[in-house]
């Protein structure tokens, strides 16, 4: 019995079994956590998509004269479109990383709408 032999003088066979069991327990724990987090994420995504049409309804009811040309709807959960003006994507990515570093905020908490080179 493994737990009966969990004394300091552990045999090599028991050590091997303990190692395998330990690795399996870590996997089992984190897989279970992964399932819980995935379900939590799905619940929030579903809540967000359910709220989106409700929020869009009043906009649709507004007078057509006031309405701006309809923009492409953003995918659920995205931070929207980033417009680059004369800035290559690589430079933009570097700039965003620098801003995140300087402000001490993670990138997924910042929203960049456009990046333009000042000439």
């Amino acid at each position: 019995m493994l737990l009966a032999s969990t004394l300091d003088d552990i045999s090599i066979a028991d050590a091997g079994l303990t190692a395998l069991l330990g690795y399996a327990v870590v996997f089992a724990g984190l897989i279970s956590l992964m399932i819980v987090i995935t379900l939590l994420g799905k619940a929030f995504s579903a809540k967000k998509t359910a709220a989106a049409p409700a929020a869009a309804a009043p906009v649709a009811a507004a007078p057509a004269a006031d309405a701006a040309p309809a923009a492409e709807p953003a995918a659920p959960g995205t931070a929207g479109q980033l417009k680059l003006h004369d800035v290559p994507p690589k430079t933009a990515a570097m700039l965003m990383a620098i801003v995140a570093d300087e402000t001490g905020k993670p990138l997924n908490e910042l929203r960049f709408t456009s990046i333009k080179e000042v000439k």
Binding site: A15, T18, V25, G29, S32, M34, L40, S45, P89, N108
Partner: protein
Amino acid sequence: MNIGETLLNLWNSSGFAAMFQGDTWKCAVMLVIGCVLLYLAIVKKFEPLLLCGIAFGCILSNLPMGGLYHQEIWDAFMDADSAFYHSYGYVMKNGGLLDIFYIGVKTSLYPCLIFMGVGAMTDFGPLLSNPKSLLLGAAAQMGVFAAFFGAVLLGFSGSEAASIGIIGGADGPTAIFLTSKLAPHLLGAIAVAAYSYMALIPLIQPPIMRALTTAEQRKIKMVQTRTVSKTEKIIFPILVTLFVALLLPDTAALVGCLMLGNLFKETGVTDRLSDTVQNALMNIVTILLSTAVGATMVGSNFLTVETLKIVVLGVVAFGLSTAGGLLGGLVMCKLTKGKVNPLIGSAGVSAVPMAARVAQVEGQKANPSNFLLMHAMGPNVAGVIGSAIAAGFLLSVFG
């Protein structure tokens, strides 16, 4: 008054005289080792915030006649037959300054408070946006259990092997937490090995990463993950605490503190607490923890063949954990038909955020337009939870 006799007495009561008596040559060697560690911390910048304190603690506790740390008090404290078994009162009454510092290690207070600071500094957003990262954090615990097995093969007891194995978790507070409970006599060697190897991650990991992945795999660009809402981030620490602490109650202290710190960060209404935990508290505890851990490096405990074995097993544990994470990454790469860059698996070895940075650097070397940092942060923070679970398992078996 006899001046000659007074001077002789003064000399005899000095540490210089004691240095040349009996077994105290080991103290001299430890003083040199302390200076070498200081050199590594100050000049080579190996985890200086911790190694500086560890090195100086080592110097202080090995000063002959210094009386700052008493190994014999802690031996009595651990001896079930002693009248002072588990007597903190005895330590307080008879101990030196570093003995009193060490009470915080012995009670696991410092590692838990450090974990609270780590929690307050960690953004679990990348993990929440891609929960599959947890699998990589689990895979990267391979080194923990492989080194545990290796340590048993090398003749260590189960408790000692478990403490050595946890070096592979690349998580200093977890290693100190577990070792102080299972094998306190190995604490100095294990802490120095763990922090030294964490500092050497940019040197240890890249060759393994290049050996286990192809250039094409390293070039893989990953798509941006979804944005995580604030409510999710607030629920996460509560959920993890309940789930992990119920699964493995031995991890409740570590995981609870980690998640409490994270909750302070995410609530938005406890900014002052979050700031204190991240800065003032973290700095104070780092000073006490590092000095106390360094104090345990007394010559009689440290200058042994076991220390050399620990150093070797530690690097094996780190290497195998990196390999385990990469293998996990390769499996995910295969299953997702090339959507996951396997390099992010190497970040599963905790060591936040160093391991994620190494994945970013290696990914960018293969493809300059590759930005893996945010993707690697998921496995990186998953590794922290994974190593805490591994420690909880080992503690429940050997504690």
